[in-house]
C-alpha cells in the first residue's frame, strides 16, 4: 500500500473544486470576524465594567473550548432555544464568533504598540472619539497587526474543515469520502493538505504584498 503519486494527481481536481466551499465560507467569516472583532475592541475600550466582565467570560470560553464544540453549539444546541440555523449559517456564525475573539485579542496587543502622540494631536484638534477611532487609531492598528490578521485568516481557512460535522461537504470531507472508497487515506489527505497549502499560501502572499504596500506609508 505504498504512496501512489498518480492517484494523488487524479483526485486533485475534485479536491480543488471542493475547496471552493472552504474559500467561500472563509471569505465571509474573515470579513465578519474583522468587523465584529473591531467592534468588540472598541466596546471593550469603553471600559464599562459589567460589559467587560461579560466579555471576559465569553473570551475565556471561546479561547478555552474546542472550536468543534462551538460549532456543535451553534448547530445542534441553538435549535433548543429556538434558533434553527442552516449548516452554513451556523458554521459561519460559530467560526466568526470564535475568530472575532482572537481578532480582538490581537488588537489588544497591537494597541499597546501605538504611539499615543497622534491621538493626542487629534484630540487637541477637537476630533470626536468615534472619529479618532475610525480615522486615526484603526488605520494604524490594522497596518500594525496585519501579520497577525493574516495568521488568523489562515487559521479560519483551516477551521472551515471542521464544518463537515454539520453536513457541510468541504475539502476534508471530500478527501475522507474518497479515502473510504479507494482505501487510500494517505494520498487523499496529502491531496487535501496541498489544497489547503495553496489557499493559505495565496492568503499569506496577498498579505505580504499588502504589508509591503503599507510599509511605503510606514509609521
Amino acid at each position: 500500500m505504498g504512496f501512489k503519486f498518480e492517484y494523488l494527481l487524479s483526485i486533485l481536481p475534485d479536491l480543488a473544486l471542493a475547496a471552493l466551499v472552504n474559500v467561500r465560507l472563509a471569505a465571509v467569516i474573515i470579513a465578519i470576524a474583522l468587523m465584529l472583532g473591531t467592534m468588540l475592541t472598541v466596546l471593550r475600550s469603553l471600559k464599562l465594567r459589567p460589559v467587560n466582565a461579560v466579555v471576559a467570560i465569553v473570551i475565556s470560553f471561546v479561547r478555552g473550548t474546542p472550536l468543534l464544540i462551538q460549532i456543535f453549539i451553534a448547530y445542534y444546541v441553538l435549535p433548543a432555544v429556538g434558533l434553527d440555523l442552516t449548516p452554513e449559517v451556523a458554521g459561519i456564525a460559530a467560526i466568526s464568533f470564535n475568530s472575532m475573539v482572537f481578532v480582538s485579542e490581537s488588537m489588544r496587543g497591537g494597541l499597546a504598540s501605538i504611539d499615543p502622540g497622534p491621538l493626542e494631536a487629534a484630540t487637541a484638534l477637537g476630533l470626536r472619539p468615534p472619529v479618532i477611532w475610525w480615522k486615526v487609531v484603526l488605520p494604524q492598528l490594522f497596518r500594525r497587526i496585519a501579520p497577525v490578521l493574516i495568521n488568523e485568516a489562515t487559521i479560519v481557512v483551516k477551521g472551515t474543515a471542521l464544518l463537515s460535522v454539520i453536513t457541510v461537504v468541504d475539502v476534508l470531507r471530500t478527501a475522507q469520502q474518497m479515502a473510504s472508497s479507494s482505501y487510500r487515506p494517505f494520498e487523499t489527505l496529502v491531496g487535501a493538505a496541498l489544497v489547503f497549502l495553496v489557499v493559505n499560501l495565496a492568503i499569506s502572499l496577498a498579505g505580504k504584498t499588502a504589508e509591503a504596500r503599507f510599509a511605503a506609508t510606514r509609521m
Binding site: G117, P118, A121, G126, L127, T217
Partner: protein
C-alpha cells in the same frame, strides 16, 4: 496687555502621583501678543500646554479662551461645573497646539493631515478644505511636498506641516512646545523664520522654547517658570538683560553659556591605563 485677553489661566494646578507639575499657575495672554515660556526641564511647561488643551485634566483652576470658560466653568454662587466632552471638543479648535514630537498622522499624506481635521471637525466641504490646505502648505513652502507621507519629510518640513494643520482650524491662539528642540541645527533657522512670519501676521502665540535668542527678538513678553508656577515675567529684553530672581539668573547662565565650554574641571576621571 493691550486688549482683552485671548487666554486667561488662573490657579491651574496638576499633580502626578506626588509630583506637583503645576502649582497655582497664572498667566494672561492678550490678543496678538507673543509670549515665550522658558524654564528648566521638568518645571511643568509641557504639562501646562497639555492642560490648556484639556489633554490632561487639571486638578484645579480655570482656563478662559477668548472670554469663554474652557473645561470648567465657574457658575453663579461659586458652583464649579465640569463641561461635557462635547463642549470641550467644540472649543478645542480655537486653540492650536503644535507638539514637541509633532504627532503627525503617519498613515496620511501631508495634505491629508491638514485636510482631515477641517472636514471632520469644522464640517468643511472637501474641496474647500483642500483648497485651504493647499494654500497654507504653499505659503509655508511645502507646495511640492503635499503628497508625501510624514516619514518622507525632513524634520523642518514635518514641523511646518504640523503648523499648517493647526492653522487650518483658524485658531484664536497657537501653542508651541519647544518647536526647535527635536531639529537638526541647520533646520532650526528655517522653523524660527516660520514662527517669526506667523508672529508678523498678528497671530497670538504662546511658545515654550529654549531659544533665548528667539524669545528676545520675537516675543513681546517672557514668562519664566519654575516648579509649576511663573516666578518672573516681563518684557522680553528686560527679563533677559536684568533677571530679578536668582533662579532665573542661574538658568540664563546655564542656557546662554552653552556655546562656551565650562572651563572648571568639576569631575575627576580615571586615568587611562
Amino acid at each position: 496687555m493691550t486688549a482683552q485677553p485671548i487666554l486667561r489661566v488662573s490657579a491651574l494646578s496638576k499633580e502626578f502621583r506626588g509630583t506637583r507639575a503645576l502649582n497655582e499657575f497664572y498667566l494672561d495672554v492678550a490678543e496678538g501678543e507673543i509670549v515665550a515660556l522658558i524654564g528648566p526641564s521638568g518645571c511643568g511647561k509641557s504639562t501646562l500646554l497639555r492642560c490648556l488643551t484639556w489633554l490632561e485634566q487639571p486638578d484645579d483652576g480655570f482656563i478662559e479662551v477668548a472670554g469663554r470658560p474652557f473645561g470648567r466653568a465657574l457658575m453663579p454662587r461659586g458652583v464649579v461645573r465640569r463641561q461635557s466632552r462635547r463642549e470641550i471638543d467644540a472649543l478645542r479648535p480655537k486653540i492650536g497646539l503644535v507638539f514637541q514630537q509633532l504627532n503627525l498622522w503617519p498613515h496620511l499624506t501631508a495634505l491629508e493631515n491638514v485636510v482631515r481635521p477641517q472636514t471632520v471637525v469644522l464640517g468643511r466641504a472637501r474641496a474647500e478644505a483642500t483648497r485651504r490646505a493647499d494654500e497654507l502648505l504653499g505659503r509655508l513652502g511645502l507646495a511640492d511636498r503635499a503628497g508625501r507621507y510624514p516619514h518622507a519629510l525632513s524634520g523642518g518640513q514635518k514641523q511646518r506641516v504640523a503648523i499648517a494643520r493647526a492653522l487650518a482650524m483658524e485658531p484664536a491662539l497657537m501653542l508651541f512646545d519647544e518647536p526647535t528642540s527635536a531639529l537638526d541645527p541647520e533646520l532650526v533657522g528655517e522653523v524660527l523664520t516660520v514662527l517669526k512670519s506667523l508672529a508678523a501676521t498678528g497671530m497670538t502665540m504662546l511658545v515654550v522654547t529654549h531659544e533665548i535668542g528667539f524669545a528676545v527678538n520675537v516675543a513681546d513678553r517672557i514668562a519664566f517658570m519654575d516648579a509649576g508656577a511663573v516666578i518672573e515675567e516681563g518684557p522680553a529684553r528686560e527679563v533677559v538683560a536684568n533677571p530679578r530672581t536668582p533662579r532665573l539668573r542661574s538658568f540664563l547662565d546655564l542656557v546662554l553659556d552653552r556655546a562656551q565650554v565650562p572651563s572648571g574641571e568639576t569631575l575627576a576621571l580615571p586615568q587611562t591605563e
